[in-house]
């Protein structure tokens, strides 16, 4: 039970509250869940009911068949992250939640952009931009190209911004998946 109680003065004024923190930054939650029917619904339902907005969501298998990983990003400026994670922890099928530290995290997203190219010159310009971003042209015809790129969401945002003026026919993004750097488990 630890050391015996001491009677030092403790002023109530010294006590500080653990407020529901709004951190003001994007958070990546890596959530390990039991691979069972309805688990994703429980998580998205919880977010809907508590008024939390999911920015991106990616679900996939892990090395263990019985476990899936959900990578979910949300805005810490709008949501008290500790309340979000505590509510998630109450779900019986949720095994583990990590609120990943940006500096210690590798986060990647896959995006595909279909860009309108009216002539050879525009096409060349698009291809040149893609090279800088290490994006691959995966489909091409007279009037458009399809570009595939992976990276952090900032990089993808930047590429999107550059491609948009050419005429972005459509795009699809997977949402980020993430893993921690170094030897330790995410």
């Amino acid at each position: 039970m630890g050391e015996p109680a001491t009677k030092d003065i403790l002023s109530l004024d010294e006590l500080e509250a653990a407020v529901g923190l709004r951190t003001g930054r994007k958070h990546i939650l890596s959530i390990l869940v039991e691979n069972k029917p309805g688990v994703l619904t429980r998580i998205t339902g919880l977010f809907a009911r508590r008024g939390f907005n999911i920015d991106t969501l990616a679900v996939g298998p892990t090395d263990d068949d019985a476990v899936s990983r959900i990578t979910l990003t949300l805005d810490g400026a709008v949501h008290p992250i500790d309340q979000v994670t505590k509510q998630l922890h109450k779900l019986v099928n949720v095994l583990k939640i990590r609120d990943l530290e940006p500096a210690e995290t590798l986060a990647r997203e896959l995006a595909v952009f279909k860009v309108s190219t009216v002539d050879g010159a525009t096409r060349a310009e698009v291809v040149q931009i893609c090279e800088i971003f290490r994006a691959d042209v995966v489909d091409i015809n007279k009037r458009s190209v399809v570009v595939e790129v992976t990276g952090g969401c900032d990089k993808i945002d930047a590429l999107e911004g550059l491609l948009r003026p050419f005429g972005l026919v459509e795009m699809a993004r997977t949402g980020e998946i993430a893993i921690s750097r170094g030897r330790s488990e995410t």
Partner: protein, 558 residues
């Protein structure tokens, strides 16, 4: 054996001696198994009645209640009790029938997505996918329902799977890797809390239903009486601290005592135990207890700092934490003299602002007097259930509860029609105790059909209807906040409750005279079998005092 026979073995292994439910197509196999399982199954008249009965049973006994319904409408009728059990943390396992697996997703007859519909209102739920899963799942359901912060668990069983033949092996343990509630409080935090208490000059203990759920009332009393910490309880916590008591401030919140609310308002340290800072407690959140620091003890970490930031959070079981906090606090040898000033302020409020009402000077029965009379007639010793509304608040104010699990009401969801079936469940669980339901004339009609169940099963509950022929609380709000525009609140003179009682095989009594009320109530209580008492009270009486919606506690009116 059939999966449903294994289900019976599991229920028996969990100590289940009674279930409340209604059979239908999809749970025919389950009811067939009940036929010779040796478990009492009480046939309710509506699944909602069965669900609330299971809640009443659980709240009165502290055991897990069990409620059954068939697929589709049987399950949707259980939605209200499930949600009610969620809001008030009541351990109930709901077992629903489901259509056969080959019909799932085809909009089959009586098919409803029970798991989907109930997902936001359960602690957890299970859909049986394979008959072999059934035994383990049942034990997991009971484990989740009763442990940690208790709550409702739904088990949905497709009828073909429930008939399947399985090799049954008793299950010895449950394995839920994602479910490990924290029960042991952090010692450093407990020590810090003891120190803060020692240094507080205006402390208040604010205890909720969690103290009752944790069976931690004796430990609460012990902490409070190390020196003289003032105690208030939420509507869910009433009885957790014995009333009356020198240190008892009365209930707090919207219709709490002025003393309790003023004490919260001026406190420098509030010790919240198993309470969740509901809006009916805090009033205007930004002006709630503005001078206070908060110790928050709760088994659910998500309650900490949800509404009100905690300065010293302690996650765990109150029955584990309170004795350790008491020991630490006692070891610090707190100086009781520091509370003198605080107590003299509290005594001033108590003298100046007792609960009060204007009694009639003729035979008219004031609703507040009705509760006092019932307290007298029962010797203050009954298990009391209630519906929701004015009668509930008056019961909470005027019936002093000397012990926990004596006051059973729907606090969080505020479910009309809760009281009568809850009384039925409580009486089944505690057959030797007097079980009384204080009902509203509006509320009682929502589950009155269970009187038939009571007659058939010989469940001798005594229902006292506070009959003002209004939806009284709504009428009060219309009077106070909507310019007396009484819209859809007048229930008229229907039904004739004495005739209703008669039709259901219960005894019906009408009481209209204040002069003989206590004696008449005694007689009703002594009448064998279920009794329905129609007590005619002042139609337009308001519940006071009151924190008006969106206002601060210090601005109480009435």
């Amino acid at each position: 054996m059939r999966a449903v026979d294994a289900l019976m073995e599991c229920l028996k292994a969990e100590g289940v001696d009674v279930v409340f439910g209604l059979p239908g197509g999809a749970n025919l196999p389950t009811y067939d198994a009940f036929y010779d399982a040796g478990i009492r199954n009480i046939l309710v008249r509506h699944e909602a009645g069965g669900g609330h009965a299971a809640e009443g049973y659980a709240k009165a006994t502290g055991k897990v209640g069990v409620s059954l319904g068939t697929s589709g409408p049987g399950a949707t009728n259980l939605v209200t009790p499930i949600c009610d059990a969620m809001m008030d943390s009541v351990p109930v396992v709901f077992i629903t029938g489901q259509v056969q697996t080959h019909l799932l997703g085809t909009d089959g007859f009586q098919e409803a997505d029970t798991i989907g519909i109930t997902m936001p209102i359960v602690k957890h739920s299970f859909m049986i996918q394979h008959p072999l899963e059934l035994p383990r799942t049942i034990h997991e359901a009971f484990h989740v329902a009763r442990s940690g912060r208790p709550g409702p668990v739904v088990v949905d069983i497709p009828s073909d799977l429930s008939r399947a033949d399985i090799a049954y092996e008793p299950v010895q343990d449950v394995h839920l890797p994602g479910y490990q509630p924290t029960t042991t409080g952090n010692q450093k935090q407990i020590r810090l809390a003891a120190k803060a208490l020692t240094n507080a000059r205006r402390p208040v203990i604010y205890a909720g239903g969690g103290v009752v759920a944790a069976n931690a009332s004796p430990q609460l009393v012990e902490l409070a009486t190390v020196d003289r910490l003032p105690v208030t309880c939420t509507v869910m916590g009433l009885g957790a601290f014995p009333a009356p008591h020198q240190q008892w401030l009365g209930m707090l919140g919207m219709h709490g005592t002025r003393t309790a609310n003023y004490a919260m308002d001026e406190a420098d340290l509030i010790i919240a135990i198993g309470a969740r800072f509901d809006d009916r407690i805090t009033g205007k959140l930004s002006e709630f207890a503005p001078r206070a620091k908060f110790i928050h003890i709760d088994i659910d970490p998500a309650e900490i700092s949800k509404n009100v930031p905690a300065h010293i959070p302690i996650v765990g079981d109150a029955a584990n934490i309170l004795p350790r906090l008491t020991a630490e606090y006692r070891a610090l040898d707190p100086d009781p003299a520091r509370l003198e000033e605080w107590w003299s302020r509290i005594r001033t409020w108590q003298e100046r602002h007792p609960l009060r009402y204007e009694d009639s000077d003729d035979s008219e029965i004031k609703p507040q007097y009705m509760i006092k009379a019932l307290h007298e007639a029962t010797g203050g010793d009954a298990i009391v259930t209630s519906d929701v509304g004015q009668h509930q608040m008056w019961a909470a104010q005027y019936y002093d509860f000397p012990a926990p699990r004596r006051w059973i009401n729907s606090g969080g969801l505020g479910t009309m029609g809760f009281g009568l079936p809850a009384a039925m469940g409580a009486k089944v669980g505690c057959p030797d105790q007097t079980v009384v339901c204080i009902a509203g004339d509006g509320s009682v009609q929502m589950n009155m059909q269970e009187l038939a169940t009571c007659s058939q099963e010989g469940i001798a509950i005594k229902v006292f209807i506070m009959n003002n022929h209004y939806l009284g609380m709504v009428r009060q709000w219309q009077e106070l906040f909507w310019d007396r525009r009484y819209s859809s609140v007048d229930m008229g003179q229907w039904p004739d409750f004495v005739k209703v009682a008669d039709a259901y095989g219960a005894t019906g009594i009408r009481l209209t005279d204040k002069g003989t009320l206590v004696d008449d109530m005694r007689e009703a209580l002594q009448t064998p079998g279920p009794v329905l008492v129609d007590v005619r009270v002042t139609p337009e009486e308001n519940v006071y005092p009151m924190i008006s919606p969106g206002q601060a506690a210090r601005d109480m009116v009435g």
